[in-house]
Symmetry: C2
Subunit: 156 residues, 2 copies
Amino acid sequence: EEPIVRAVAYDKDVVKVVFRRVPDRPGIAARIFRALAEENVRTDMIIQSMFTGDVNDVSFIVPSADAKKVDFESIGRRCEAQEVVVDENIAKVSLIGVNVTSSTDIPATLFETLANEGINIDMISTSNSRISVIISRDAAERAVKAIHARFKLDQE
Amino acid sequence: EEPIVRAVAYDKDVVKVVFRRVPDRPGIAARIFRALAEENVRTDMIIQSMFTGDVNDVSFIVPSADAKKVDFESIGRRCEAQEVVVDENIAKVSLIGVNVTSSTDIPATLFETLANEGINIDMISTSNSRISVIISRDAAERAVKAIHARFKLDQE
Ligand SMILES: C[C@@H](O)[C@H](N)C(=O)O
Ligand SMILES: C[C@@H](O)[C@H](N)C(=O)O
C-alpha cells in the first residue's frame, strides 16, 4: 500500500468540453456519451461532480484532433445542456505512480506545488495510479518543472 | 490500445464529502487536502469539475471508518466553503479493465446500463483502467448485477 511517485506527464493537445446544467436524471450521461461514441470522439477524464438543485455539469477532455470534427454545441443541445463550454486553452498534467491516492499527503503536495507557482487548478481527477489536473495551457511547462523538482522526478 | 473490460467492483463503506463554493483561486485545493492529510483522512476519487463564476466545488470520497473521526464542517469552514455536504447514502461502483477509456462506447454502455435500471449517476470519474460512478447506496447491488450481465463479467 506504500505509495510511489514515479513521473509527471503533460498533454497540451487536449480540449475541455463541459455540458453545463444538464438535467440530473437517469439517462442523461448515457445520452451524452452515446452521442460522442457515435461521432468516434474519444473522451478522457470524464468528470462529473455532485448535482446542484436538479441539474449537473458533465465535463470531459478530448484530444484536439478529435475535437475538430465535432459540433459540441449541437450534441449539448440534444442532451439538454443549458450551456456548452469548449476550452482549448488548457493542459492536462498528471502525477503518475503507484497507490498515489493511498496517502492524502501526495495530492496535498501536488496542489501546494501548483499553488506556489500561482497556477490555478481548474479540474481534478484521481485514480490509484494518477492524479490529474487541468490548468491553463501556458502554465504547463512551469507546472511540470515545479512538480519535477518537488517530487524529484523524471518526466515522461 | 484495444480495451478489455474485466470486472465490476463496488464499495458501500464510503462517504461523499463536498466542499461547495470554495474560492476558485490558487491555494484552496492545497489547503483542503493538506488539512485532510493532517487528520490522516484517506481521500479516494478527488473530483473537481469546472468553476462557476469565481467559486468551485471540491468533492472527494472517504472510507467510512476515516470519515467518522473528522469534522468536515470545521475543515470546510477553514477552507472557505460556503456549504459542506457529507453524504453517507452512497456507493462507489467501478468498471475495471484495460484501456477502458480508449473507446467512448464503454462509458456510454455503462451509463446506459444504469439508466435502464433507473439508477441516477451522482458523480463520475474515469481513468485508463477504471470508470467509477457514485450512486445511492441502496442501488448498489442492482447496479452491479446489471453491469455484470451487460458486460458478461465476474465480480471482484
Ligand atoms: C447528470 C447525469 O449524470 C445524470 N445524473 C444521469 O444519471 O445520467
Ligand atoms: C478550487 C481550487 O481547486 C482552486 N482553483 C485551486 O487552485 O486551489
